[in-house]
Protein backbone atom coordinates (compact mmCIF):
# COMPACT_ATOMS: atom_id res chain seq x y z
CA UNK A 1 0.00 0.00 0.00
CA UNK A 2 1.21 3.47 -0.73
CA UNK A 3 2.60 5.89 1.81
CA UNK A 4 0.84 9.27 1.74
CA UNK A 5 3.21 12.17 2.15
CA UNK A 6 1.57 15.60 2.09
CA UNK A 7 3.48 18.83 1.59
CA UNK A 8 1.50 21.67 3.09
CA UNK A 9 1.51 25.07 4.73
CA UNK A 10 -1.40 27.46 4.76
CA UNK A 11 1.06 30.24 3.96
CA UNK A 12 1.89 30.70 0.29
CA UNK A 13 5.31 31.07 -1.29
CA UNK A 14 7.12 28.73 1.08
CA UNK A 15 8.13 26.23 -1.59
CA UNK A 16 5.48 23.52 -1.29
CA UNK A 17 5.53 22.67 -4.98
CA UNK A 18 9.30 22.72 -5.34
CA UNK A 19 9.71 20.56 -2.25
CA UNK A 20 7.04 18.18 -3.58
CA UNK A 21 8.90 17.83 -6.85
CA UNK A 22 12.28 17.43 -5.13
CA UNK A 23 10.88 14.66 -2.99
CA UNK A 24 9.30 12.98 -6.01
CA UNK A 25 12.66 13.10 -7.81
CA UNK A 26 14.60 11.89 -4.77
CA UNK A 27 12.32 8.99 -3.86
CA UNK A 28 12.13 7.83 -7.47
CA UNK A 29 15.80 8.19 -8.39
CA UNK A 30 17.61 7.44 -5.14
CA UNK A 31 14.97 5.40 -3.41
CA UNK A 32 13.93 3.45 -6.52
CA UNK A 33 10.28 3.94 -5.53
CA UNK A 34 7.28 4.42 -7.75
CA UNK A 35 5.98 7.86 -6.90
CA UNK A 36 2.64 9.44 -7.69
CA UNK A 37 2.40 13.19 -7.26
CA UNK A 38 -1.14 14.52 -6.90
CA UNK A 39 -1.27 18.24 -7.59
CA UNK A 40 -3.96 19.69 -5.32
CA UNK A 41 -3.01 23.29 -6.06
CA UNK A 42 -5.04 25.03 -8.75
CA UNK A 43 -1.93 27.01 -9.57
CA UNK A 44 -0.51 23.69 -10.84
CA UNK A 45 3.13 24.58 -10.22
CA UNK A 46 4.34 21.09 -9.54
CA UNK A 47 2.60 19.89 -12.71
CA UNK A 48 4.32 22.61 -14.72
CA UNK A 49 7.69 21.66 -13.23
CA UNK A 50 7.19 17.97 -13.95
CA UNK A 51 5.70 18.09 -17.46
CA UNK A 52 6.20 21.63 -18.79
CA UNK A 53 3.64 24.14 -19.92
CA UNK A 54 2.69 22.63 -23.28
CA UNK A 55 2.12 19.14 -21.88
CA UNK A 56 0.10 20.55 -19.02
CA UNK A 57 -2.16 22.45 -21.45
CA UNK A 58 -2.55 19.27 -23.47
CA UNK A 59 -3.55 17.40 -20.30
CA UNK A 60 -6.19 20.07 -19.58
CA UNK A 61 -7.60 19.71 -23.07
CA UNK A 62 -7.89 15.97 -22.59
CA UNK A 63 -9.41 16.46 -19.14
CA UNK A 64 -6.58 14.54 -17.56
CA UNK A 65 -6.39 16.40 -14.28
CA UNK A 66 -7.51 16.39 -10.66
CA UNK A 67 -10.70 18.39 -11.27
CA UNK A 68 -11.88 16.03 -14.00
CA UNK A 69 -11.09 13.04 -11.81
CA UNK A 70 -13.08 14.45 -8.88
CA UNK A 71 -16.01 15.29 -11.17
CA UNK A 72 -15.99 11.75 -12.47
CA UNK A 73 -17.18 10.63 -9.02
CA UNK A 74 -16.02 7.12 -9.65
CA UNK A 75 -13.47 6.63 -6.96
CA UNK A 76 -11.64 3.41 -7.39
CA UNK A 77 -8.05 2.85 -8.39
CA UNK A 78 -8.84 1.83 -11.93
CA UNK A 79 -10.54 5.03 -13.05
CA UNK A 80 -8.00 7.13 -11.21
CA UNK A 81 -5.30 5.53 -13.32
CA UNK A 82 -7.01 7.02 -16.39
CA UNK A 83 -6.31 10.51 -15.07
CA UNK A 84 -2.68 9.85 -14.22
CA UNK A 85 0.20 10.63 -16.55
CA UNK A 86 2.85 7.92 -16.34
CA UNK A 87 6.64 8.34 -16.21
CA UNK A 88 6.67 12.08 -16.27
CA UNK A 89 9.52 14.51 -15.43
CA UNK A 90 12.50 15.54 -17.47
CA UNK A 91 14.84 13.31 -15.51
CA UNK A 92 16.56 10.17 -16.63
CA UNK A 93 18.54 7.70 -14.61
CA UNK A 94 21.71 5.87 -15.52
CA UNK A 95 21.36 3.88 -18.72
CA UNK A 96 18.57 6.14 -19.92
CA UNK A 97 16.02 4.51 -17.59
CA UNK A 98 13.12 6.73 -16.62
CA UNK A 99 12.37 7.38 -12.96
CA UNK A 100 9.02 6.05 -11.85
CA UNK A 101 7.20 9.33 -11.37
CA UNK A 102 3.51 9.59 -12.21
CA UNK A 103 1.39 12.70 -12.02
CA UNK A 104 -2.25 13.51 -11.46
CA UNK A 105 -2.01 17.03 -12.90
CA UNK A 106 -3.44 20.11 -11.26
CA UNK A 107 -6.25 22.12 -12.78
CA UNK A 108 -7.18 25.78 -12.73
CA UNK A 109 -10.77 24.66 -12.26
CA UNK A 110 -9.99 22.89 -9.02
CA UNK A 111 -10.92 25.80 -6.74
CA UNK A 112 -14.28 26.39 -8.43
CA UNK A 113 -14.91 22.71 -8.35
CA UNK A 114 -14.42 22.61 -4.59
CA UNK A 115 -16.91 25.45 -4.21
CA UNK A 116 -19.40 23.61 -6.39
CA UNK A 117 -18.97 20.49 -4.33
CA UNK A 118 -19.61 22.41 -1.12
CA UNK A 119 -22.78 23.89 -2.57
CA UNK A 120 -23.84 20.42 -3.61
CA UNK A 121 -23.45 19.21 -0.04
CA UNK A 122 -25.12 22.36 1.29
CA UNK A 123 -28.41 21.61 -0.43
CA UNK A 124 -31.53 21.08 1.69
CA UNK A 125 -30.34 23.66 4.22
CA UNK A 126 -27.45 21.53 5.45
CA UNK A 127 -25.32 23.66 7.78
CA UNK A 128 -22.22 24.99 6.08
CA UNK A 129 -19.72 23.32 8.42
CA UNK A 130 -21.39 19.99 7.94
CA UNK A 131 -21.36 20.45 4.19
CA UNK A 132 -17.69 21.33 4.28
CA UNK A 133 -16.91 18.31 6.35
CA UNK A 134 -18.80 16.05 3.94
CA UNK A 135 -16.95 17.65 1.09
CA UNK A 136 -13.60 16.91 2.77
CA UNK A 137 -14.76 13.32 3.24
CA UNK A 138 -15.58 13.21 -0.44
CA UNK A 139 -12.03 14.31 -1.30
CA UNK A 140 -10.52 11.88 1.13
CA UNK A 141 -12.39 9.02 -0.45
CA UNK A 142 -11.26 10.21 -3.86
CA UNK A 143 -7.61 10.45 -2.81
CA UNK A 144 -7.19 7.31 -0.79
CA UNK A 145 -7.84 5.06 -3.77
CA UNK A 146 -4.41 6.16 -4.99
CA UNK A 147 -2.86 3.85 -2.44
CA UNK A 148 -2.26 0.84 -4.74
CA UNK A 149 -0.98 3.01 -7.58
CA UNK A 150 2.40 3.92 -6.08
CA UNK A 151 4.70 3.30 -3.15
CA UNK A 152 4.86 6.98 -2.28
CA UNK A 153 1.95 9.31 -2.96
CA UNK A 154 2.93 12.95 -2.64
CA UNK A 155 0.04 15.34 -2.05
CA UNK A 156 1.10 18.83 -3.07
CA UNK A 157 -1.39 21.00 -1.19
CA UNK A 158 -2.57 24.48 -2.10
CA UNK A 159 -1.92 27.39 0.27
CA UNK A 160 -4.73 28.00 2.71
CA UNK A 161 -6.85 25.18 4.03
CA UNK A 162 -9.26 24.20 1.30
CA UNK A 163 -11.48 21.17 1.74
CA UNK A 164 -9.13 19.20 -0.51
CA UNK A 165 -6.14 20.21 1.62
CA UNK A 166 -8.03 19.33 4.79
CA UNK A 167 -8.71 15.90 3.33
CA UNK A 168 -5.07 15.47 2.31
CA UNK A 169 -3.88 16.40 5.80
CA UNK A 170 -6.21 13.82 7.35
CA UNK A 171 -5.14 11.15 4.93
CA UNK A 172 -1.39 11.76 5.09
CA UNK A 173 0.88 9.40 6.98
CA UNK A 174 3.30 12.30 7.28
CA UNK A 175 3.18 15.98 6.37
CA UNK A 176 6.21 18.01 5.40
CA UNK A 177 5.67 21.66 6.29
CA UNK A 178 8.08 23.89 4.40
CA UNK A 179 8.47 27.38 5.82
CA UNK A 180 10.43 30.52 5.12
CA UNK A 181 12.31 31.76 8.17
CA UNK A 182 10.40 35.03 8.39
CA UNK A 183 8.40 36.74 11.10
CA UNK A 184 4.99 35.39 10.11
CA UNK A 185 6.02 31.78 9.62
CA UNK A 186 5.75 31.01 13.31
CA UNK A 187 2.01 31.62 13.21
CA UNK A 188 1.55 29.68 9.99
CA UNK A 189 3.40 26.65 11.31
CA UNK A 190 1.54 26.74 14.64
CA UNK A 191 -1.76 26.82 12.82
CA UNK A 192 -1.13 24.02 10.39
CA UNK A 193 0.28 21.88 13.20
CA UNK A 194 -3.07 22.18 14.99
CA UNK A 195 -4.93 21.12 11.88
CA UNK A 196 -2.64 18.18 11.18
CA UNK A 197 -2.88 16.92 14.75
CA UNK A 198 -6.63 17.64 14.92
CA UNK A 199 -6.25 19.98 17.89
CA UNK A 200 -7.87 23.31 18.59
CA UNK A 201 -5.00 24.91 20.47
CA UNK A 202 -1.26 24.97 20.19
CA UNK A 203 -0.77 23.79 23.81
CA UNK A 204 -2.64 20.63 22.93
CA UNK A 205 -0.26 20.04 20.03
CA UNK A 206 2.69 20.68 22.32
CA UNK A 207 1.50 17.92 24.62
CA UNK A 208 2.24 15.39 21.89
CA UNK A 209 5.84 14.21 21.91
CA UNK A 210 7.54 15.84 18.88
CA UNK A 211 8.74 12.54 17.45
CA UNK A 212 5.18 11.23 17.52
CA UNK A 213 3.68 14.15 15.65
CA UNK A 214 2.54 13.58 12.12
CA UNK A 215 4.53 16.43 10.60
CA UNK A 216 8.07 17.65 10.11
CA UNK A 217 8.94 21.27 9.41
CA UNK A 218 11.47 22.09 6.75
CA UNK A 219 13.24 25.45 6.56
CA UNK A 220 13.36 26.65 2.98
CA UNK A 221 14.95 29.66 1.25
CA UNK A 222 17.38 29.95 4.13
CA UNK A 223 19.90 32.78 3.92
CA UNK A 224 23.21 32.50 5.78
CA UNK A 225 22.24 35.22 8.24
CA UNK A 226 21.65 35.20 11.96
CA UNK A 227 18.03 36.33 11.65
CA UNK A 228 17.10 33.22 9.67
CA UNK A 229 18.99 30.97 12.06
CA UNK A 230 17.16 32.41 15.04
CA UNK A 231 13.75 32.13 13.37
CA UNK A 232 14.41 28.48 12.53
CA UNK A 233 15.46 27.86 16.14
CA UNK A 234 12.28 29.57 17.32
CA UNK A 235 10.12 27.24 15.26
CA UNK A 236 12.21 24.20 16.14
CA UNK A 237 11.71 24.97 19.84
CA UNK A 238 8.03 24.09 19.42
CA UNK A 239 7.83 21.85 16.37
CA UNK A 240 9.73 18.83 15.02
CA UNK A 241 12.01 20.35 12.41
CA UNK A 242 14.30 18.61 9.96
CA UNK A 243 17.98 19.33 10.47
CA UNK A 244 18.39 19.73 6.72
CA UNK A 245 17.68 23.24 5.52
CA UNK A 246 17.19 24.27 1.94
CA UNK A 247 19.30 27.32 1.20
CA UNK A 248 18.43 30.25 -1.00
CA UNK A 249 20.45 28.81 -3.87
CA UNK A 250 20.27 29.66 -7.58
CA UNK A 251 21.02 26.05 -8.57
CA UNK A 252 17.98 24.94 -6.65
CA UNK A 253 15.75 27.55 -8.26
CA UNK A 254 17.05 26.70 -11.75
CA UNK A 255 16.32 23.02 -11.25
CA UNK A 256 12.62 23.72 -11.53
CA UNK A 257 12.65 24.77 -15.15
CA UNK A 258 11.24 21.94 -17.20
CA UNK A 259 13.42 20.98 -20.12
CA UNK A 260 12.63 19.09 -23.32
CA UNK A 261 15.94 17.27 -22.97
CA UNK A 262 16.13 14.73 -20.20
CA UNK A 263 18.90 15.17 -17.65
CA UNK A 264 20.29 13.18 -14.78
CA UNK A 265 19.46 14.36 -11.31
CA UNK A 266 23.04 15.56 -10.83
CA UNK A 267 22.87 17.60 -14.04
CA UNK A 268 19.51 19.07 -13.16
CA UNK A 269 20.26 20.06 -9.60
CA UNK A 270 24.02 20.75 -9.84
CA UNK A 271 25.54 21.55 -6.45
CA UNK A 272 22.05 21.65 -4.94
CA UNK A 273 21.89 17.85 -5.33
CA UNK A 274 23.96 17.55 -2.14
CA UNK A 275 21.37 19.40 -0.09
CA UNK A 276 18.62 17.42 -1.70
CA UNK A 277 20.47 14.19 -0.86
CA UNK A 278 20.66 15.21 2.78
CA UNK A 279 16.96 16.02 2.81
CA UNK A 280 16.09 12.71 1.22
CA UNK A 281 18.27 10.72 3.63
CA UNK A 282 16.92 12.46 6.70
CA UNK A 283 13.32 12.23 5.63
CA UNK A 284 13.54 8.62 4.46
CA UNK A 285 14.92 7.72 7.89
CA UNK A 286 12.12 9.43 9.75
CA UNK A 287 9.31 7.93 7.65
CA UNK A 288 7.89 4.56 8.43
CA UNK A 289 7.85 3.38 4.86
Amino acid sequence: MGYFLAVANRKGGVGKSTVSVMLAHAFAVWGGKRVLLIDLDAQSNSSLILIGNANWIEAQKKSVNIAAYIEDKNYTAKPMRDYVLRNVSDLEMEGGKLPGIDLLPGSLRFEDMQDELISFYSRNNTPFRQAKSRCAGHFRQALEVASPLAEIIILDCAPGISTATAAALKLADMVVVPFRPDSVSEFAVDKIAEIIEGKLRKDEVMEIEPAKRRYRCLANYVRPVGADRIMIETIAADHPTLATQLPMQPELANAFFWSEERQTLAEKYGVAADTMGRLYTELAQSLTL
Partner: protein, 193 residues
Amino acid sequence: MTDTTKKLSGPAKDRFFKTLLADDEGIDEATAGRLSARAASIVTSLRARQSGLAALERRSARRRTAGPKPAAAEPVPETVAAPMSAPTPPASAVQPAIEAAAMPSSTPRPDDSEAPFDPFLFGLVPVYKREGADGLIVKLAEVGSADHLRAMAKSQQIVLPRELRTGPIDLVQLRLAILEAVEKRVSDRSASL
Protein backbone atom coordinates in the same frame (compact mmCIF):
# COMPACT_ATOMS: atom_id res chain seq x y z
CA MET B 1 15.01 24.24 41.75
CA THR B 2 14.12 24.73 45.42
CA ASP B 3 16.26 21.76 46.43
CA THR B 4 19.39 23.15 44.95
CA THR B 5 19.08 26.88 45.42
CA LYS B 6 19.20 29.23 48.33
CA LYS B 7 17.56 32.57 48.82
CA LEU B 8 19.81 35.33 50.04
CA SER B 9 18.71 38.72 51.27
CA GLY B 10 19.82 41.49 53.62
CA PRO B 11 23.37 41.31 54.97
CA ALA B 12 23.78 37.76 53.69
CA LYS B 13 23.11 39.00 50.19
CA ASP B 14 25.49 41.96 50.62
CA ARG B 15 28.25 39.73 51.90
CA PHE B 16 27.61 37.31 49.09
CA PHE B 17 28.23 39.99 46.46
CA LYS B 18 31.41 41.06 48.20
CA THR B 19 32.72 37.54 48.38
CA LEU B 20 31.74 36.74 44.85
CA LEU B 21 33.44 39.76 43.36
CA ALA B 22 36.49 39.35 45.55
CA ASP B 23 36.71 35.82 44.21
CA ASP B 24 37.32 37.13 40.69
CA GLU B 25 41.03 37.59 40.21
CA GLY B 26 40.45 40.04 37.36
CA ILE B 27 38.76 42.56 39.65
CA ASP B 28 40.80 44.68 42.00
CA GLU B 29 39.78 45.30 45.55
CA ALA B 30 38.40 48.79 45.01
CA THR B 31 36.35 47.79 41.99
CA ALA B 32 35.06 44.73 43.79
CA GLY B 33 33.94 46.88 46.69
CA ARG B 34 32.24 49.39 44.40
CA LEU B 35 30.49 46.79 42.29
CA SER B 36 29.33 44.74 45.24
CA ALA B 37 27.89 47.85 46.89
CA ARG B 38 26.12 48.75 43.66
CA ALA B 39 24.73 45.27 43.18
CA ALA B 40 23.62 45.14 46.78
CA SER B 41 21.79 48.44 46.44
CA ILE B 42 19.81 47.27 43.43
CA VAL B 43 19.05 43.68 44.28
CA THR B 44 16.68 42.97 47.12
CA SER B 45 17.09 39.24 47.17
CA LEU B 46 18.57 36.57 45.00
CA ARG B 47 18.53 32.85 44.62
CA ALA B 48 21.90 31.22 44.22
CA ARG B 49 22.83 27.65 43.39
CA GLN B 50 23.93 25.63 46.43
CA SER B 51 26.73 24.02 44.46
CA GLY B 52 28.01 27.42 43.36
CA LEU B 53 27.91 28.75 46.88
CA ALA B 54 29.77 25.75 48.25
CA ALA B 55 32.47 26.12 45.62
CA LEU B 56 32.76 29.82 46.36
CA GLU B 57 33.06 29.12 50.04
CA ARG B 58 35.78 26.52 49.48
CA ARG B 59 37.80 28.86 47.30
CA SER B 60 37.36 31.67 49.76
CA ALA B 61 38.51 29.46 52.64
CA ARG B 62 41.58 28.40 50.67
CA ARG B 63 42.43 32.04 50.03
CA ARG B 64 42.04 32.89 53.67
CA THR B 65 44.53 30.17 54.51
CA ALA B 66 46.95 31.19 51.75
CA GLY B 67 46.50 34.86 52.41
CA PRO B 68 46.15 36.47 48.97
CA LYS B 69 43.92 39.44 48.31
CA PRO B 70 43.31 40.18 51.96
CA ALA B 71 40.75 42.87 51.38
CA ALA B 72 38.61 40.62 49.26
CA ALA B 73 38.99 37.60 51.47
CA GLU B 74 36.12 38.33 53.73
CA PRO B 75 34.73 35.00 54.81
CA VAL B 76 31.61 33.74 53.22
CA PRO B 77 28.96 34.53 55.76
CA GLU B 78 27.51 31.78 57.83
CA THR B 79 24.09 32.61 56.56
CA VAL B 80 25.16 31.84 53.01
CA ALA B 81 26.37 28.39 53.86
CA ALA B 82 23.64 27.55 56.29
CA PRO B 83 20.61 25.72 54.97
CA MET B 84 17.65 27.94 54.44
CA SER B 85 14.05 27.20 53.91
CA ALA B 86 13.66 28.72 50.52
CA PRO B 87 10.11 29.62 49.64
CA THR B 88 8.48 28.04 46.64
CA PRO B 89 9.43 30.04 43.57
CA PRO B 90 6.66 32.37 42.49
CA ALA B 91 4.49 31.31 39.62
CA SER B 92 5.64 34.28 37.61
CA ALA B 93 8.86 33.62 35.81
CA VAL B 94 9.94 37.21 36.31
CA GLN B 95 10.83 37.11 39.98
CA PRO B 96 13.45 34.33 39.85
CA ALA B 97 14.70 35.97 36.71
CA ILE B 98 15.21 39.23 38.57
CA GLU B 99 17.27 37.37 41.07
CA ALA B 100 19.28 35.67 38.38
CA ALA B 101 19.70 38.90 36.44
CA ALA B 102 21.88 40.25 39.18
CA MET B 103 24.31 37.38 38.87
CA PRO B 104 27.55 38.63 37.40
CA SER B 105 28.75 36.99 34.25
CA SER B 106 30.96 33.97 34.76
CA THR B 107 32.06 33.80 31.14
CA PRO B 108 34.18 36.28 29.21
CA ARG B 109 32.13 39.22 28.04
CA PRO B 110 31.87 39.61 24.30
CA ASP B 111 32.91 43.23 24.54
CA ASP B 112 36.17 42.17 26.15
CA SER B 113 37.34 40.76 22.84
CA GLU B 114 38.27 42.50 19.63
CA ALA B 115 35.78 40.58 17.49
CA PRO B 116 32.65 42.47 16.44
CA PHE B 117 29.60 41.55 18.46
CA ASP B 118 27.18 39.14 16.82
CA PRO B 119 23.63 40.23 17.69
CA PHE B 120 22.50 36.71 16.82
CA LEU B 121 24.93 35.16 19.30
CA PHE B 122 21.95 33.24 20.63
CA GLY B 123 18.22 33.42 19.97
CA LEU B 124 16.31 35.31 22.63
CA VAL B 125 12.97 33.66 21.90
CA PRO B 126 14.36 30.14 21.32
CA VAL B 127 16.36 30.27 24.58
CA TYR B 128 13.28 31.51 26.43
CA LYS B 129 11.16 28.75 24.93
CA ARG B 130 13.70 26.04 25.67
CA GLU B 131 15.12 27.15 29.01
CA GLY B 132 12.56 29.55 30.44
CA ALA B 133 13.05 32.96 31.98
CA ASP B 134 15.91 31.88 34.21
CA GLY B 135 17.73 30.34 31.29
CA LEU B 136 17.38 33.48 29.24
CA ILE B 137 18.63 35.72 32.01
CA VAL B 138 21.64 33.49 32.54
CA LYS B 139 22.43 33.74 28.82
CA LEU B 140 21.87 37.50 28.82
CA ALA B 141 24.31 37.80 31.69
CA GLU B 142 26.99 36.66 29.25
CA VAL B 143 26.51 39.90 27.35
CA GLY B 144 28.16 42.62 29.35
CA SER B 145 27.41 45.73 27.33
CA ALA B 146 24.22 47.73 27.05
CA ASP B 147 24.93 48.46 23.39
CA HIS B 148 25.29 44.78 22.65
CA LEU B 149 22.15 43.89 24.54
CA ARG B 150 20.23 46.57 22.69
CA ALA B 151 21.66 45.45 19.36
CA MET B 152 20.65 41.92 20.13
CA ALA B 153 17.08 42.90 20.98
CA LYS B 154 16.74 45.15 17.95
CA SER B 155 18.15 42.59 15.51
CA GLN B 156 15.83 39.92 16.83
CA GLN B 157 12.73 42.14 16.63
CA ILE B 158 12.39 42.40 20.38
CA VAL B 159 11.14 45.92 20.95
CA LEU B 160 12.24 47.62 24.16
CA PRO B 161 10.43 50.58 25.75
CA ARG B 162 11.59 53.80 24.12
CA GLU B 163 13.31 55.13 27.23
CA LEU B 164 15.54 52.05 27.40
CA ARG B 165 16.68 52.15 23.80
CA THR B 166 19.37 54.81 24.29
CA GLY B 167 21.44 56.41 26.98
CA PRO B 168 23.12 55.04 30.06
CA ILE B 169 21.27 52.22 31.73
CA ASP B 170 21.74 49.64 34.37
CA LEU B 171 22.47 46.28 32.75
CA VAL B 172 20.27 44.37 35.13
CA GLN B 173 17.33 46.60 34.29
CA LEU B 174 18.04 46.21 30.59
CA ARG B 175 18.23 42.42 30.79
CA LEU B 176 14.94 42.31 32.63
CA ALA B 177 13.36 44.60 30.08
CA ILE B 178 14.53 42.26 27.33
CA LEU B 179 13.07 39.32 29.19
CA GLU B 180 9.74 41.10 29.56
CA ALA B 181 9.69 42.01 25.89
CA VAL B 182 10.45 38.40 24.93
CA GLU B 183 7.68 37.17 27.24
CA LYS B 184 5.32 39.68 25.71
CA ARG B 185 6.18 38.53 22.23
CA VAL B 186 5.70 34.86 23.05
CA SER B 187 2.40 35.47 24.82
CA ASP B 188 1.24 37.70 22.00
CA ARG B 189 1.92 34.86 19.60
CA SER B 190 -0.03 32.43 21.77
CA ALA B 191 -2.93 34.85 22.15
CA SER B 192 -3.19 35.19 18.41
CA LEU B 193 -4.25 31.55 18.19
